[in-house]
Symmetry: D2
Subunit: 289 residues, 4 copies
């Protein structure tokens, strides 16, 4: 899909019980106000009986202002029991990064940001180790070192959350942040914390997945990006990818090769999130790609 980068578009994400005419009602709403639909993607889960859609239309020439859209769409949404989110393409979201010691995902995201491939603001990097501060400096981003131990976790998480609020982070990316976030932390950013796990989940959840994969003798390794929930490695999956390995690969080879998977999969998940292409329902995702 391609759209003019210079004009603003509205992005409407909806889901509701599937009913005859829902599709027509929504497209009619846009058409009735002279909306030029740029992209329209819908999905019906027949088993669950749920209708999902992502509609993007050009705001140029549209008959309603942003506030009027909300007013006009509310009664329609109520009539069809629609849960909805409305975004505008000229709002650049603010992405906070949390890291530990491994730099590959951090470098990859910063390069994508620098080159304009990933259209976000990156106000801060938070880490439980000081190691990656030079990388932050190299890209001119505030770096906050907040060490975390079992004892200090509650107060340190409070500091982290305060920082994220201060810096007005819209969402958080754990770029190989090697700490488990508490349920309390997670509840501040529901479906807005993106993690990369270095295995093909649900295989090899938990610590040291490459060691486990090597021990099991698998012929393929993977990486999984998911929203963080209170259950470790159990959140809704955003993206996965895999690569072939063999008996020739020692654990260190899996670690080395897996880095590329982690980078690609995490960056793809972040791109999907930033571009409002994800709908979460239950513990699953609809990806409008």
């Amino acid at each position: 899909m391609q759209c003019d980068m210079n004009s603003t578009s509205a992005i409407l994400l909806v889901h509701c019980p599937d009913r005859r005419g829902i599709n027509a009602a929504i497209t009619k709403f846009v058409a009735d106000h002279q909306g030029n639909i740029l992209d329209y993607d819908q999905h019906v889960d027949d088993e669950a009986g749920i209708y999902f859609a992502r509609i993007e239309w050009d705001m140029e020439g549209f008959a309603l202002t942003r506030e009027q859209i909300v007013l006009a769409f509310t009664p329609l949404a109520q009539g069809y029991d629609i849960t909805w989110q409305l975004y505008f393409s000229d709002t650049t979201p603010r992405m906070a990064l949390m890291v530990s010691k491994l730099p590959h995902c951090l470098y990859d995201l910063l390069a994508r940001w620098q080159t304009g491939e990933l259209d976000v603001e990156i106000p801060l990097i938070v880490s439980n180790h000081p190691d990656l501060e030079p990388v932050a400096q190299r890209f001119g981003i505030d770096f906050h070192h907040i060490p975390v131990s079992a004892q200090t976790k509650p107060q340190q998480e409070a500091k982290q959350i305060a920082l994220l609020k201060d810096y007005k982070a819209d969402f958080v990316v754990l770029a190989r942040y090697m700490q488990i976030l508490s349920g309390d932390f997670v509840r501040h950013y529901p479906n807005r914390i993106i993690n990369i796990h270095h295995s093909f989940l649900p295989a090899f959840a938990g610590a040291k997945p490459y060691h486990a994969a090597h021990e099991r003798g698998v012929k393929i390794i993977g990486a999984t990006s998911h929203y963080v929930t209170e259950d470790l490695d159990e959140g809704p999956i955003l993206a996965q990818d895999v690569m072939t390995v063999s008996h020739k690969d020692a654990v260190t080879d899996l670690v080395r090769k897996g880095k590329d998977l982690e980078k690609i999969v995490l960056a793809h998940a972040v791109w999907l999130h930033r571009n409002r292409k994800i709908l979460v329902y239950g513990n699953r995702t609809v990806i409008f790609e």
Copy 2:
């Protein structure tokens, strides 16, 4: 997408110049006649300014008969300059097979047909060699041996076409048929002859692609299924897949490994065609998957 196998559905394939409201008009047409949309997939090619859609709805409870749909949709189609095709899921298409000596794609398609995975009728198999007649017999399908040489091609093609007409073939699958069809033959079945080429087109078009791939030292080989047009190996692409190879693979290894690619890719293309999931425009395809 899942739909009740026991009820009949209507499948409407449309494309037209993209205009404000086209989407709403079509969905409204179905909704206005109490149609329950089972599957709705649309695509806009922004560059070309073309709107494409595949709409499938349940005929149970629909207010129009098959003939009435045609009458009712015609004025709407004219108003929006829509090119359209209408199918019903209870019509099983008749697939003719053309083969030479290699049996792997033939066996694969026959097994998929026998097991119900591919819902077609297979009235006949045509071949320029007698070798695969035992396979046809094993599955109880008429086999016609029509040898073709440079001299006899016109009259032999005439025989082939007569057979296809006699057996009421709706479409033709070249399951490694090692002869080039004339433009005259092709014009009898526009976008209804499916070929499998044993390379990742447009790389290695023409004869002996595995030899050419080996000679070039590629690290990946592929297979491509496309509609046959008058230009050899140039028709609209339906499906492609690839696999990794290495310097260890001799040409015979590429041939052996490539067979799996050919089977999978051809069977997928046939499945897409049979289930009305392909729209051709220019020399490209929209695949509603």
Copy 3:
């Protein structure tokens, strides 16, 4: 790798503690008796300190007979503490098939056998259901229906084993055989029973993996072929492959798409086993491909 199909080759599989000179000693053994090495593949597991190799040489012009090879290699093997297997390419192994109701893997293997792609003898098909007997008849293979229930399992497994012995099966392929074999059964064919599991193991072991994959919302599904051991779905992995899926895929779509994975992965594992390209150590495999 390519070798003349008409001449006989010897295939030696070895593994032993890694020691300086082991490589030279084995290649020298072959060279000293005028052996022309057709293929030589070796692997050292540095962590475990184990040396693995597969050496294939031409028997034409080799100075030793088959029996003399055994006599001559035994002292070398003892000196280096080598565990070894010796095969000759002119011995065609006998493969028994066990199936239930699903025909796709059965058809696929039978077609590969018929077309010469898989060089085995298939003396019999054993099933706990009568459904696939027509397929066996179509290919002219003995079919034995041995129903199995929780109560009758021990005596029915005894019948199965007796059949396998009568028919002189060298190895057994479970082509979607939906019964768990007892440890007693498995011990009759150690590392000679090949299963296909319809998931990317270790994810989704056990029953209904496609349902579990759908429930978890994974973006990739897989299939795994492994040797059967007493621990369900825990045996050494021979081959794995994956394909991309999306939220659009219902469980029935995963089942449909997964069939291709199952066929390809199982056939590849069988091919590796038949061509003596697998070494098992611990619960892992070295694949000489």
Copy 4:
């Protein structure tokens, strides 16, 4: 393969006409001087009758010095008509980068270098545009802007070569350098200039491959890394990878998605080159992976 990073190893790359005993002779050479083989990979091209091998052994405890290896191996090499290269793992090669305006491959390689994943020295970056100088500065690397036009090409290439010599570059990586190098330039660094082409070669050689891929309607795009020879896009292939695309992808989507392919494929080729895992013969490569 894993080896102790702290000790030095010798890497010997050989190819020669395949003769009985060549394998034994080489392994015996290493064993006779107390060499502990860390990695030994060999390949015989049966068609061409050529033997290839890469042998890596620990220099600790080896009976010969670096100079003595050369002296001792020379007669053996002459006897078997062996072409050979000898490297030592403690020599870090110097990699020059040539770029134009696109930063993604440059950032990716610099990040791999910074994080120690790619063990090279990067003495300089040469570009025909000034755009990426800030990236070079960010990583503290000398940047030379040498504009090139059709008229100035000979003298500007002379400047480039002089720079590469001054900075003692061992090999050159074209990280999306959008200029064709002259045959004269290429001859200074035979099999030591690595390019990334943004298509699955030989498909879509030349300019604007993503446009051509879109126009042709392919379902898969790729990237190819190869050594630069005098024939554009025709050099020996080092690495290739692909990804699935669909009718939904506009050219701009192909460009965006392809960047990840380009990064991964180029970085992999550079890693192979740096670690002496490539043998070129004719226009093909043996990759010891």
